[in-house]
């Protein structure tokens, strides 16, 4: 197994003022780029959804309505800041930042390109490359729960509270599956650093994790991350029909804008994360153009990320919302066993082939046992609504996995 340099090459020659400057510039550029893309993302989503629904969407402000988001922001900025009477003032004010900051921090570990050399300094095109890399993302997804849960609680209102409780349960549930798919990636790479992860996928499309690990971790990851973000079709947290506006019902003005901002920032960040973990990050075909070779990885990265951002929008446009119990069911009974089993199989194959098959056999046995147990468990629970047969998810593989038992019973 290759040993990766886990330390940022920038710091190879000690920390000087120049290095510090570069770090600051990286942070500022990263922040600015993210904010810029958020405005674009909001516009993009509105436009795309409009197209899917045969509407026109924003068009007044700027070319193709590009400045619509800015206008919305200005409007929100000048709106009255309401504080509910029953609210817990401090927590109420704190919550939006707890959502926003993790989204920003997560973005910092994403490698958006290769390396450039400026004035003798080798610069990774990512804001930071901590040795624990991908764990930062997990940590931040853990933190972002607080924003949601506290926002709902501190509002001092029933529906937001209910939404928070749902959110916390949902996020915890899906974090396990998320974590295990990441472990699969880390197992294959042998490093936690995002930099190393993309480097390991740099040698052609067959090395991309999406293919190398079998498609399963990728699919599970996409589903789990969608649930983490409370994006449709997992947006029971803000289900309008049940919970008014979700956890941020009581928020208004700038604080509301922060939630909004964070949501879209998260979409971008997580798209980028999927690209980094499974689709090779900035990897792609680089034409041999002098002095501009460094641009192409960035372009590849942007292209892939945009593609994924579109997938999210597509989900939103195309899929109906899950019911809460279905959502929990999916998380605990399908995704967690699936990702765990797959992780074991991958680990087995990493040792050698026979271990891999052994693991696969074990997982198969466990699967049969679990199916039986779940079936019985459903039977024992007299008072719970029956699960719905057709699950509105894209991807035949997943449907096959998740629906097998109900289909069997149909026969």
């Amino acid at each position: 197994m290759t040993t990766f340099a886990t330390v940022d090459p920038l710091f190879n020659h000690g920390v000087t003022w120049a290095v510090l400057l570069i770090v600051i510039i990286k942070a500022v550029v990263g922040f600015a780029a993210l904010m810029g893309s958020v405005t674009l993302m909001i516009w993009f989503e509105r436009k795309a959804i409009s197209d899917m629904q045969s509407r026109i969407g924003p068009q007044r402000w700027g070319p193709f309505g590009l400045l619509q988001t800015l206008a919305d922001g200005i409007k929100l900025f000048f709106k009255e800041d309401l504080m509910p009477a029953e609210a817990d003032r401090f927590v109420f004010k704190l919550a939006p930042y707890l959502v926003l900051v993790p989204a920003l921090i997560t973005f910092s570990i994403i490698p958006i390109g290769g390396t450039v050399t400026v004035a003798g300094h080798v610069i990774d095109l990512q804001v930071a490359n901590p040795p624990i890399g991908i764990l930062v993302m997990l940590a931040m997804s853990g933190i972002s729960v607080y924003g949601v849960i506290l926002a709902g609680w501190s509002s001092g209102s029933k529906y937001p509270l209910m939404s928070s409780v749902r959110a916390s349960a949902q996020m915890i549930s899906y974090e396990a599956a998320l974590g295990m798919t990441i472990v699969t990636v880390v197992l294959a790479t042998g490093s936690l650093s995002t930099h190393d992860i993309v480097n390991a996928q740099a040698h052609g499309i067959w090395h991309w994790n999406v293919i190398r690990l079998g498609i399963v971790p990728f699919v599970v990851f996409v589903m789990a991350i969608t649930a983490e973000l409370n994006r449709p079709p997992f947006d029971v947290v803000e289900a309008e029909s049940e919970l008014v506006g979700g956890f941020h019902t009581e928020y208004s003005s700038l604080r509301f804008a922060l939630f909004f901002l964070a949501e879209f920032m998260n979409v971008i960040t997580m798209s980028a994360m999927i690209v980094t973990l499974f689709l090779g990050g900035p990897a792609g075909w680089v034409p041999n153009i002098p002095h501009l070779r460094w641009v192409f990885p960035i372009l590849w990265f942007l292209a892939k990320t945009t593609g994924f951002a579109f997938v999210y929008v597509w989900f939103r446009g195309a899929l109906p919302r899950f019911r809460y119990d279905q959502l929990m069911d999916l998380g605990w009974k399908r995704l967690i066993p699936l990702s765990l089993g797959w992780m074991l199989i991958v680990a087995g194959f990493l040792v050698n082939r026979s271990w891999g098959f052994l693991m696969a056999a074990l997982v198969l046995v466990a699967y049969i046992v679990l199916t039986r147990a779940f079936e019985l468990g459903d039977g024992r629970r007299g008072d719970v609504l029956p699960t719905v047969g057709e699950r509105p998810l894209p991807g035949a593989v997943l449907r096959a996995w998740t629906d097998r038992d109900s289909r069997e019973e149909e026969e």
């Binding site: 817990d88 901590p130 624990i132 997990l138 853990g142 933190i143 607080y146 459903d378 039977g379 029956p386």
Partner: protein, 200 residues
């Protein structure tokens, strides 16, 4: 030991402030949610202290496990039970118990610190067992921690499996709605024919 640089001291002070203020918050505030928030503050302080002592991996795990799961679970239960807006308090079960506890704890902590100081803080030989893997300062030590867990602490690691299983079984059992045999007989009698096609 090389003298600490200004940034190091700053990091320590930040961590210490976060830890102590957070801990005092848990100790003092009434509202359990606020206490949980204070707890998070302490947890972050500890995470910073971990990073400052080249335990990056543990810092990440600290945030993921403690902040990401444990405290969320706390909040979840607080909200689930709706105990957040009140704390039934202020009956002293034993006269002077709190003062007694306070004095006891202060004396104990002072005693421990004094004993540690008297023994110059650490007396163990450096890597005495020879089984542990040394720490490389400045790196994340993920590999080293992993190696230690799967060699020196292999058995402990396996025991954690048992621990977690028993904890999950226990928690499920505790939180489950109670049923007795007569109820279940009833339930299965009515549910048995339904199970066959219950998914519809």
């Amino acid at each position: 030991m090389i003298a600490a640089t200004v940034p190091d001291v700053l990091v320590f002070v930040t961590a210490a402030l976060l830890i102590v203020v957070g801990a005092l918050g848990v100790l003092a505030v009434k509202n359990p949610v606020h206490a949980a928030l204070s707890l998070i503050m302490t947890l972050f302080g500890v995470a910073i202290a971990f990073v400052a002592q080249s335990a990056d991996f543990l810092a990440a795990v600290q945030v993921i496990v403690y902040a990401g799961a444990i405290v969320v679970l706390f909040l979840f239960v607080i909200m689930f039970l709706g105990v957040d807006r009140r704390e039934h308090v202020e009956v002293e079960p034993l006269v002077g118990q709190r003062a007694f506890a306070g004095i006891g704890v202060v004396v104990t902590v002072a005693g421990i610190v004094t004993l540690m100081a008297k023994s110059h803080w650490v007396t163990g030989a450096v890597a005495v067992s020879g089984q542990g893997t040394p720490i490389v300062p400045g790196s994340a030590n993920v590999r080293e921690v992993g190696t230690a867990v799967f060699t020196t602490y292999l058995f402990a690691f396996e025991a954690t499996a048992a621990l977690l299983i028993i904890a999950v079984v226990g928690a499920v059992l505790l939180a489950r709605r109670e049923r007795r045999r007569d109820e279940i007989d009833e339930a299965t009698a009515s549910a048995a024919p339904v199970t066959e096609g219950s998914d519809r």
